[in-house]
């Protein structure tokens, strides 16, 4: 769309480097077809400064509503304040913007619940007592990685404490196994040890060294907490190629096309499917309500450290081999032809 046109809704997404946000972009574009409102999507490429520039650009272009998924929820306060000051309604998308009163609404899958869903799956599929548990996390420099991990830890910790799981690859986590609520610093230590930096290659290197270092009793049937699909596939490849691993349960997130295939092939156990379409629909619905001077519907509130933000939460869906056809294909998210052996 031409620069001169007045925009109604501006959308800022964190980065084009991760597959997840390509999907969001796609879905937003689809959601817009046939509405009378114009929108524009900008990417921040992992930089809070660029995010701020993007917001400013959109303000310049006269948006009324800003839908923003911050790269870093704590660092986006300045950017949304500028929008708020212009009387723009700010909708935080999937990631809450903290420490500011300049955010109006929040549509979310709730990142804590993503981690929790991953952990719950591992707990539900635990085999016997003392099953080895391998922990992996996103980037140590990414706050979201901490939120996912926190959600997972809350569910896993009791099961570690009671001996269902024993931690195989993190001395720091082992040291903290009796603590439910980890401080940011404690989490930082664990994540520093098991970070994948969100990169499959790094995940692969880490997994290889961990398996090398693992004693025989840390093999056999194992559980693996993998933060997202890209790293999950890389880790799964490593575990699959170790003959001492008889079986592994591994988590994922985002329902990448590739992981769909892995799940069908039995190489990945599950993925947390965040149906972006629902989130997009909610976000756009809110935006349209606001543009039409109606009050958007919300289902609850979130505390962002400063205010209670009105929120609409969408549940995440755990996708496994059993329900993949229903959740990913029948729902029209992917085409059946995207997969083989379905």
């Amino acid at each position: 769309n031409k620069g001169g046109d007045k925009l109604s809704v501006g959308i800022v997404l964190p980065t084009k480097d991760e597959e997840r946000w390509l999907q969001d972009e796609q879905r937003f574009k689809e959601a817009l077809d046939g509405t009378k409102y114009t929108t524009e999507i900008l990417f921040s490429q992992g930089s809070s400064a660029k995010e701020k520039e993007n917001v400013e650009t959109l303000i310049n272009k006269g948006i009324k509503v800003l839908i923003i998924c911050p790269f870093d929820g704590a660092a986006a306060g300045g950017a949304v304040k500028a929008a708020k000051d212009e009387g723009i309604t700010v909708i935080a998308y999937d990631r809450l913007i903290t420490g500011t009163d300049a955010v109006d609404y929040y549509v979310t899958f709730d990142s804590l619940s993503v981690g929790a869903a991953q952990a719950q799956y591992l707990v539900d599929n635990a085999k016997g007592n003392g099953q080895p548990l391998y922990l992996y996390a996103g980037a140590a420099s990414d706050n979201n990685a901490f939120i996912f991990f926190e959600g997972a830890w809350k569910v896993l910790q009791p099961k570690i404490a009671d001996g269902t799981f024993k931690i195989a690859n993190s001395s720091e986590a082992e040291a903290l196994k009796d603590k439910v609520d980890l401080s940011r610093e404690e989490m930082g230590k664990v994540i520093g040890q098991v970070t994948t930096n969100w990169e499959p290659n790094e995940a692969k290197n880490k997994a290889q060294t961990h398996l090398t270092a693992a004693a025989a009793d840390m093999k056999g049937d194992v559980a693996i907490l993998a933060p997202n699909d890209g790293t999950s596939r890389a880790i799964a490849d490593v575990f699959a190629s170790d003959s001492a691993i008889t079986s592994y349960t591994i988590t994922g997130q985002d329902a990448d096309k590739g992981s769909g295939q892995y799940i069908i092939d039995g190489k990945q156990s599950m993925t947390v499917f965040k149906d972006v379409r629902t989130l997009v629909k909610d976000a756009m619905g809110m935006a349209v309500s606001i543009l039409e001077d109606k009050t958007p519907q919300t289902t609850g509130t979130y505390d962002n450290g400063k205010i209670q933000v009105k929120a609409k939460q969408t549940d995440v869906i755990v996708v496994t081999k059993d329900n993949i056809r229903k959740e990913l294909v029948d729902s029209g998210y992917y085409k059946a032809s995207d997969f083989t052996g379905l």
Binding site: N1, K2, G3, G4, K16, E40, L42, F43, Q45, G46, S47, S48, A49, K50, K52, E53, N54, E56, T57, I59, N60, K61, D72, G73, A74, A75, G77, G78, A79, K81, A82, T98, G99, A140, S141, D142, N143, F146, S183, R184, E185, G188, K189, G192
Partner: protein, 391 residues
């Protein structure tokens, strides 16, 4: 010589320098047309300049580093690291901003000097020394933010550095009075310095440009200052970021062009051995230049933290490449001894304008990278070509 010929010969001699300004002008004009004037709107220009600030100060420091034939890859994460330290001092240690800022600047100087020692005294190539520094500061940044993650800073005064504007006092037709006054003062100072410069040249009976060209030039530059002032005054006036940029540029321009230290820096850049034998302390100059780079990295870190009201765990990523690109677009030569700080600032603005304009036009991020790469290459090709022609 008539007016036209004089202008022509002036342009010919200075084509390399004017080239950048012309490029900036063309870019701005193009975007203005394509965005129906949105690009040149008060608010957009104000945003654009603010977004350039933290890279521009780095580019100034980098210019001098490249002039003395070195490079500093560590400045990005060094800025991020020091921005985080500043945030920690402000929040966890509870220091007021007027203590914090000098402390961080001094820390920057120390860090920079350390690089200088590695380069000048140990003789390690700057590229490698600063590559090591980059890794170390990256680790340092992760370490200091490990406890808290992103550190939110809510010191109003501190944050004003990145997001505040000078007070407006009063509004005239929607324009900020104090900013207008400031612009006026700048114009007066400019005109005064031009006239006194010409006077003193005449006193020495040197050649000067004809009165007509002189008048045109003074009016032209004054008009540009006035225009920018008018644009900025139409939004929220001069931001503190712009003020800092202006001060840095003026100070460094003066330093490099008018002082003995500046001469020494360029002498070292154009022939280190000859500089040494001319009684110039090459090591000292290297320390100073790296020290200044460190200080500006600290300033950049402060500006970035203030701009985001928080110190993030990835702050500083790739700043160094943006700064280096700005310096090269601004006409610095890798062979040493050539390059102006004003050029680098313009280079930084050119690169920021590209991003901004393309965002306004809704150009996809993948094309943005490619276009920025192409512009960088084109700028340097132009530079190399015109340089070749002249010599």
């Amino acid at each position: 010589m008539n007016f036209f010929n004089e202008t022509k010969s002036l342009v010919k001699v200075n084509i390399r320098e004017y080239g950048m300004y012309i490029a900036l002008f063309v870019i701005m004009l193009t975007f203005s047309i394509m965005t129906d004037g949105l690009f040149m709107s008060s608010r957009n220009i104000s945003n654009l300049l603010d977004a350039t600030g933290y890279i521009a100060v780095l580019a100034v420091g980098m210019t001098l580093v490249i002039v003395i034939r070195h490079i500093d890859l560590s400045v990005g994460f060094a800025a991020g690291f020091m921005g985080a330290i500043a945030a920690i001092l402000l929040t966890q240690a509870g220091l007021p901003f007027y203590f914090t800022i000098p402390i961080i600047l001094v820390l920057g100087i120390v860090i920079g000097m350390f690089n200088g020692v590695l380069v000048a005294s140990f003789g390690i190539p700057a590229f490698v020394a600063s590559l090591a520094g980059m890794l170390i500061f990256r680790g340092g940044l992760l370490m200091v933010t490990e406890k808290s993650g992103t550190i939110i800073v809510d010191d109003e005064n501190f944050n004003a550095i990145g997001t505040g504007f000078i007070p407006s006092i009063a509004k005239i037709n929607g324009l900020n009075l104090l900013s207008l006054i400031l612009g006026g003062v700048m114009i007066l100072l400019y005109i005064y310095s031009e006239i006194s410069n010409r006077r003193s040249k005449l006193k020495y009976q040197f050649d000067v440009v004809s009165m007509r060209i002189f008048t045109v030039k003074v009016i032209f530059v004054s008009a540009i200052i006035a225009y920018i002032t008018w644009i900025l005054a139409g939004y929220k006036g001069f931001s503190w970021t712009v003020i800092i940029m202006l001060i840095i540029v003026v100070v460094y321009h003066f330093l490099t062009r008018k002082t003995v230290l500046g001469r020494h820096i360029y002498a070292v850049g154009s022939n280190p051995e000859a500089a040494h034998l001319s009684g110039i302390n090459v090591k000292k100059i290297t320390y100073i230049v790296f020290g200044s780079m460190g200080m500006l990295a600290a300033l950049s870190g402060i500006m970035y933290t203030a701009r985001l009201h928080s110190a993030t765990t990835t702050a500083g990523t790739l700043f160094e490449l943006d700064a280096i690109a700005a310096a090269y677009v601004g006409g610095v030569s890798a062979a040493g001894g050539v390059g102006k700080v004003t050029g680098s600032i313009i280079g930084a603005i050119v690169m920021a304008s590209l991003t901004n304009g393309m965002n306004l036009l809704g150009v996809g991020i993948s094309y943005q990278y490619m276009i920025r790469g192409a512009v960088l290459a084109a700028a340097v090709i132009f530079d190399v070509m015109t340089r070749k022609k002249r010599s």
